[in-house]
């Protein structure tokens, strides 16, 4: 189904085709079709309740945890069907990392937080873990701040540090895709700027999908932007295009702050 406002992506990492999601009898996503480009940052924007977080959580099947959710349609990661009931969800979630709106470090040491994903995957060699900790924390721009307190509780870090720790934790297992659900909404402007820089850097190694309420943020960090409204994908294309010459009136109104 070609649509003037929705661009097609060649060789997408994640491909959705007519993806529909139901909470019990209510339909929350009405047939989303879009591709997510490799090693780019794709932002999902839209007013509250438009289904952007729901769409994000479809990708790593976190919606499975909610009773009564039913997903119809196709959603694939590198040609592997994600909605396949026989798919190993554990394996999927190792390939697709996630960072949440509220930072959620475990009540363990900084070190144990970072290696959590590796440990549950059965990795226990000290050298491997040490290397992963340094690499991931450096990748999340946190290494210099916490290298002397790796074995202290992660709950003693500041809010921004905790969120970066969660990013380090997610990239420690070297996923292909990183999902970010409003990662800066609970942070002060300075920490937000720090994480935005980080997202741009991470783009080199990961495919990133980020949900955000902040238009400027979407403009600053993303390469592609998708605008969702009431469970429909209204417009999708390169960020510069969407922010300068939106095709749909709805998109323009939202971006310029006329509603939402």
């Amino acid at each position: 189904m070609e649509h003037p406002a929705i661009c097609t992506i060649a060789e997408p990492v994640i491909a959705m085709s007519n993806l529909r999601l139901f909470y019990g009898p209510a339909e929350a996503l009405h047939g989303i079709t879009m591709g997510v480009p490799r090693q780019r940052v794709t932002a999902l924007i839209g007013p509250s309740g438009c289904g952007k977080s729901t769409l994000l959580r479809c990708v790593n099947r976190m919606n499975d945890l909610i009773d009564g959710v039913r997903v119809v349609g196709s959603l694939s990661l590198d040609q592997t069907e994600i909605n396949d009931p026989a798919l190993d969800v554990i394996e999927l979630r190792r390939r697709i990392g996630m960072v949440f709106q509220k930072s959620n470090p475990f009540p363990k040491s900084v070190y144990e937080n970072v290696v959590y994903g590796l440990r549950i995957a059965g990795v226990n060699q000290r050298e491997v873990l040490d290397e992963a900790v340094e690499k991931s924390l450096a990748g999340a721009g946190l290494w210099n701040e916490v290298k002397d307190r790796l074995h202290e509780s992660a709950l003693g870090l500041s809010g921004g540090q905790m969120q970066r720790l969660c990013i380090a934790r997610a990239i420690a297992v070297q996923p292909e895709v990183l999902l970010m659900d409003e990662p800066c909404s609970a942070l002060d402007p300075r920490s937000t700027a720090r994480i935005e820089e980080l997202i741009v850097e991470l783009r080199r190694d990961f495919t990133i999908i980020i949900v955000t309420h902040n238009m400027q943020q979407a403009g600053r960090v993303s390469d592609f932007t998708a605008f969702l409204y009431e469970g429909n994908l209204v417009e999708y294309g390169p960020t510069r295009g969407i922010f300068t010459k939106p095709v749909c009136k709805q998109t323009e109104d939202y971006i310029t702050g006329r509603f939402g």
Binding site: L92, M98, P107, A170
Partner: protein, 537 residues
């Protein structure tokens, strides 16, 4: 102006000032009650073993008496002052206590040579040392001679103790042979079967040995019981006591503080590590302490894992529906069922049901004498585990429910399975809350008496549930318990007045044990709290 004052009064009520007062007063009342309870128990319990001064009361009529003043009051009819004196010498007077009216008392004095003997039977002797009989007739004796004779008697007692131990070993062997015989008979072996014959021969052998040892014991006992001490009470009547029946002898009016402290320490030692005497009103509490602690321990082994696992299932695995809600309500209500109901259930289900079935299965030859089908520490502990498990379930559920959803999602999103999330993140985080529930459960179990009375607690257990004999832990044995001990000596004893100090001491000890166990658990909980919930979410 009128308007303003009204406004102010409105504000007074609106801002809740009276409510603050009422809640403060309620707290103060509760604290006061708790403090009062502890103070009463402490005041009565701590001083019990401190040696009190002996006073001789010369009466206008009748012989003088000597004893320790217990309390003073006024006669309800005449209004005259009177004192209650512990006069001891139960074998002479029949009573331990006597009220003396002040007008009847001619004079009092506190003689330095007053002696208190603690005896194995009939309570204490209050009197004066007169004679010593070491088997060759009575002759006047000094305190030093008496002490030396006492030490000798104790030394000479040792062979008797050895014989006694041999006798109980023989008794145990005899019981084993009897059970083997019963088993063979049950399996249809006839009397001329070689195994049966051999056992009969062994039985006869043990019997002969037994008779021999009994004779030896009697000889020793007769010999040693001939050594006696002669005392005279304040009125001059003679009391003869065999030296080996004397547990302690002292002259309280001569004792200084160091001597009294030493005496007190000795009594405490006896309390903690000694066997009870005189239908539990004297002596130690060792079997009751062991029984209580062991029962709580076994209870925890069952109740803690069962409660935690059930709570985890209810919160993490069960799909929330009407059935789960019903189960939750039922669990909450279970915590409020009167404990005696659990006791009756324990008796019917564990003791008669499970125990009876196990007897049929494993010990049919011993029937109708039950082995497991009678009260025992295992059944009592299981009954209490059942009683406390709802508390642990509720605590586990609440603790798991209080964990932010983000932590759960974070773990799952990293590719952890539900079980990994549970064991690596959720349970450690919930552990302080679970421990709090468990502390409550344990404190309740330690103080519970009613269900124990019908599932295995006895007044006097012949053997501890924990000893050096294989298999060391005897879960089928009956046991003693501090709570029941209080009830027993305080309300079932033939000599309630004499038992009163022991009631307070036992209460104090029970409270201390509960406090100690709770303190240990609270320490554990705080350690976990520091470890798992630093900062905020």
């Amino acid at each position: 102006m009128k308007m303003t004052s009204q406004q102010r009064r409105g504000g007074f009520w609106r801002e809740g000032e009276p409510f603050v007062w009422v809640s403060g007063a309620a707290l103060a009342a509760v604290l006061l009650m708790a403090a009062l309870l502890v103070i009463v128990v402490m005041a009565n319990g701590v001083a019990v073993f401190w040696p009190a001064r002996q006073t001789v009361f010369e009466l206008r009529q009748g012989p003088a008496v000597m004893g320790v003043v217990q309390q003073e009051s006024r006669d309800p009819k005449t209004g005259a002052r009177r004192v209650q004196v512990k006069i001891a010498n139960r074998d002479l007077y029949g009573l331990d206590f006597r009220w003396l009216d002040a007008p009847d008392i001619r004079a009092t004095r506190q003689p330095a040579d007053a002696v208190v003997l603690e005896r194995r039977e009939y309570g204490n002797v209050h009197g004066f040392l007169r004679t010593l009989d070491l088997g060759a007739g009575a002759r006047p004796a000094t305190w030093a001679e008496f002490q030396a004779a006492l030490r000798r008697a104790r030394l000479d007692r040792q062979p008797m103790d050895r014989v006694q131990r041999d006798l109980s070993t023989l008794g145990g062997q005899m019981e084993k042979v009897r059970l083997s015989l019963a088993k063979l008979r049950y399996h249809g072996r006839r009397d001329d079967d070689p195994a049966v014959v051999a056992l009969h021969a062994r039985q006869a052998e043990i019997k002969a040995e037994f008779a021999l040892q009994v004779a030896a014991f009697d000889r020793l006992a007769i010999e040693i019981r001939r050594r006696t001490v002669g005392m005279a009470d304040a009125g001059g009547r003679e009391i003869i006591t065999p030296l080996i029946d004397v547990i302690r002898a002292n002259q309280p009016n001569r004792m200084g503080v160091p001597a009294k402290t030493w005496f007190y320490a000795g009594k405490l030692w006896e309390l903690f590590f000694g066997e009870p005497r005189e239908s539990n009103t004297e002596g130690g509490l060792f079997p009751a302490i062991v029984g209580t602690v062991m029962m709580v321990f076994i209870m925890s082994i069952f109740s803690f894992p069962l409660g935690v696992v059930t709570g985890v299932y209810l919160r993490e695995y069960a799909r929330d529906g009407w059935l789960v809600r019903l189960v939750r309500i039922a669990v909450n209500n279970l915590a409020g069922v009167p404990s005696i109901v659990y006791g009756i259930f324990g008796l019917g289900f564990f003791v008669y049901g499970v125990g009876g079935a196990l007897d049929q299965l494993f010990f049919p030859e011993r029937l109708p004498t039950p082995t497991l089908g009678t009260g025992g520490i295992l059944w009592a502990s299981l009954t209490l585990a059942l009683l406390t498990v709802p508390v642990v379930i509720v605590a586990t559920e609440e603790a798991l429910g209080a964990i932010p959803k983000g932590v759960r999602d974070g773990s799952l999103a990293l590719g952890a399975t539900k079980l990994q999330t549970l064991t690596r993140v959720l349970l450690p985080m919930a552990s302080p809350g679970i421990m709090t529930g468990f502390i409550l459960a344990m404190a309740r179990a330690a103080g519970e008496v009613a269900p124990l009375m019908i599932t295995g607690v006895v007044k006097l257990a012949p053997a501890l549930p924990l000893d050096g004999q294989y298999p060391f832990i005897h879960l089928e044995r009956k046991f003693m318990h501090l709570g029941f001990h209080i009830y027993d000596i305080g309300f079932q004893s033939p000599n309630v007045e004499a038992a009163k100090p022991m009631v307070f001491v036992t209460t104090l000890l029970l409270v201390l044990i509960v406090l100690l166990m709770s303190a240990a658990a609270i320490h554990l909980r705080n350690t976990m709290k520091r470890r798992y919930t630093l900062g905020s979410f």
